[in-house]
Structure formats: C-alpha cells, structure tokens
Symmetry: C2
C-alpha cells in the first residue's frame, strides 16, 4: 500500500502568518540533501527569502502569484559555481561550462527541490512551486546576488497551510507509463487520454471565462502562449550563454 500522503497531497497557495522556525527549515534542508545527487557533487544551492522587502521584489519576478504570500520563499538553484571553485583551488581543470553539465546541475537541483517539498509536506507544511523562476532568471540572479554558473530553476513557497488546497486531475496512467517503447498513439488515442482534463469541471470554467473553444486553447493562447514563451526563452538563453555556457 502506497503511503496515503503521496496519493492525497495537494499544493497549497494560502498560508498562515506563522513563521517557519530556522531549526525546522534547517532540518528539512539537511534531510533533503540526503537525496540522490549526481556523482555526489551536490550541484545545487537554496536561498531562503524571508525579508519583507526582498520578498516583495522577488514576488514581482514571479508575477505576484498567490503563493508568494508564504512566510518563506526558497529559490532552488542549479549550481556548478561552488564545485568549480573547489576544483580551481585544487589545481584541477573544471570543465563544467558546457550544456551537458548545465543539464546535470538542473536535474540535480530538481531532485533536491522535490525532496524539500516532500519532507516539508510530510512535516505538515504546505508548499507550492513557482514555475516562473526561469522566466526572470537574470533579474532573480541579480536580486539574490547569484554568481556565474548558478541558475534559479525552481522557487518553493513554503509555510503552514491556511487552506486544504485544490484537488487537480491527472492524465490516466496509460498516458505517462509506456512499456518497452514509446507507444505510437493516434489522434483519437491522444484525445481519449486528455478527456479527463477536457471534461474536468474546473477546466470547463477556464474555457468559458477565457472565451475559448477548448482547454488546449486556454493553455496555448492564454496561459503559455508562443510569443511569451519565445520572449522569455531568448532572454534566458542569452543570459545563460553569458554566465554559464556558450
């Protein structure tokens, strides 16, 4: 039997005013660092933002999403700076200014981020990812004084929950688990896989509110439209090419 926590967890966007003690935060981060890590290199750093004025600035870069009201914002960064400095100090040629190493650090940081999330939630805290850390990475890096080869990849809003969170629908297992080979689905198959999303009552409401024909148009034209993706993409790539790899 899978632990009920995993099957029932929900993200939380509304938090009590209550602070998270420094010792609890430190215990969570210490435990999270026991997560698997690429070659035991620990290619991540987390910056805790609590100060009101800085939180306000950081929240603006996250488009003031509701979860920004949390007592702590944790910016999880892919970090090859610390490891590279250690190599340089030890007269070892650190060759991590390339795309592959960047990808490894991103993967490593996300394992760490998710471990923080799980441990915090199991401790009774609520969390919500702000998926926008990469949208304004240069501005966030400047605010948090990130050196080169350090990229904010995820931000976790974290605090004591002041709501149960909303249950959200998921694709059927068949959509995400493939046996031996990536299954080749027909258009009818894809439509069937997404039916649970298309028909989900809350999504029906989004379609209506946004005056669209269907849910896919809400995603592609309102929530994550091409022009916005391409604008932030160009900004991120330009910044990475200047601070991490060519």
């Amino acid at each position: 039997m899978i632990n009920q926590y995993f099957t029932e967890r929900r993200s939380v966007r509304k938090f009590q005013k209550k602070e998270i003690s420094q010792s609890l935060l430190e215990n969570i981060i210490t435990a999270a660092a026991k997560a698997p890590t690429c070659g035991n290199m620990q290619l991540y750093t987390v910056i805790a933002t609590r100060e009101e004025s800085r939180k306000k600035e950081l929240s603006a870069y996250h488009f003031n999403q509701p979860a920004c009201g949390a007592p702590v914002l944790l910016t999880v960064c892919a970090d090859f700076n610390r490891f590279t400095r250690w190599c340089n100090i030890n007269n070892a040629d650190a060759g991590y200014d390339n795309f592959l190493s960047f990808t490894s650090a991103v993967a490593d940081a996300m394992i760490f981020a998710q471990q923080i999330c799980t441990i915090a939630e199991m401790e009774g805290l609520g969390t919500c990812y702000l998926g926008t850390a990469t949208y304004n990475a240069p501005e966030i890096a400047s605010l948090l004084k990130l050196p080169e080869m350090v990229m904010p990849i995820a931000c976790l809003a974290i605090g004591y929950p002041d709501e149960d969170g909303v249950e959200t629908e998921r694709l059927p297992l068949r959509a995400i688990l493939h046996d031996e080979e990536y299954r080749s689905d027909s258009d009818a198959d894809i439509t069937e896989l997404f039916r649970v999303k298309d028909e989900y009552p809350a999504n029906q409401k989004f379609i209506e509110e946004n005056g669209k024909e269907n849910l896919a148009q809400v995603f592609a034209e309102v929530r994550y439209p091409r022009a916005m993706n391409e604008e932030f993409s160009a900004k991120l790539l330009k910044w990475l090419n200047a601070t991490w790899y060519k």
Copy 2:
C-alpha cells in the same frame, strides 16, 4: 522530527533477481503523478524496460554501470510531444519548441522522477539514478522510439535490494543553504566547506587509486573530465536542436 527514511536513505546498486510486479510498478507511477507538475501539464513520460535484450542495449548506453542489473530500468523523459499533439488536434498553436519550454519539461520530469524514487524506496524497493541518460540521449531515444520533443533526462534502476547501499558524505548545511543572498565565500571558506569530502576515507582511496593529488582532480580529470563533458554536450545540443528547439 523528520521521517527517518529521509535521513537514512541510500542508493542501491545491487538487486535481487525478484521481479517487481506490474501492479506495484503501476501503483508507484500513479502515485508519483500526484507530485506537483508545471501548470498541471505533466510534461513527462516514463518508459519501463524489462526485456533482457533491450535492457542489455540500454545498459551499454549507460556504460554498464553496476545498477544496470536491476529488474526494471525506468527511463524518465521530459515530454512536450504529447501536450503539443493535444494542442494541434484542438486547433491551438502549441509554442513549446523553445528552450524555456524545454527547461520547464526537464524540471517537471525530474520532480516526477524523484517522486518515483521516494515512493519506491518507502515501499522497500531500492533505486539508483543513472545520471548518464543525457550522455547518449540520441541513441537511447532511438532504442526507445522516442518521438521529437521527448528527451531522456534520468534513468532509475529499480528492484528489491540485495545490499544495504553505501553511506555517502554530504557538504555541511552552510554550503547549500544561503540566507537572503548568495553568500560570497573566500577560497579558504570553500576549502573548509569541502573538507568533509576531501577527508572522507572512501575518497582518500579514490585519490590514491587514481594517482591524483586531491579529490577535485579525481572529479575533474577522471570522473567528469572536460573533454568528455564537451563531447557529450555537443552531441546532446545538436540532437536537441534537431528534435526540440533551435
């Protein structure tokens, strides 16, 4: 008190011959899909490899690491293909062929991968990441018949453990948790942060075995040398530029 599992977990590289039942695997993946996901888009797919001949081929692309002997190899992929097809079918302009969207899918897939890892381990299974999924991504994609906009980002070896796993050292908390701003460390600070690694008995052995002066040189010149990183990096980037984004 943090759940002891998190503070004591270890990766496992040696597995019993015992198979994982399909129902247990499905329960783990179903529960893992309740993890947070970017905009609830579920930008991931996992391919389960059990067939001996295919496992042998896949293992070769992972340099036949010891953990490849697991009964199941789970290749977790960042996947914007399924979502893009759904958009196309619904007459919505899917603008996800860019670097930002790629990064979002990678982050999403890693959250999912780590949730699989945690749930499986809490169920008494052993797991080990093969961090090499990106090294031979084009070959793995071909073997697993991945369509465009699907990249293998992590592989999890999973099975019933046949060893306790090895305890590995971690950097002090101060190295990875920064308060309000990225702390500016001196060279002496960095040296002090890495002391636990430099002095760890198993690492001392690596230095000796490889005839190096220090641990940093083992990493930078033996385990993850520049020339290797740059070669695999160029291959990965070229392949991504042909299959996902320019």
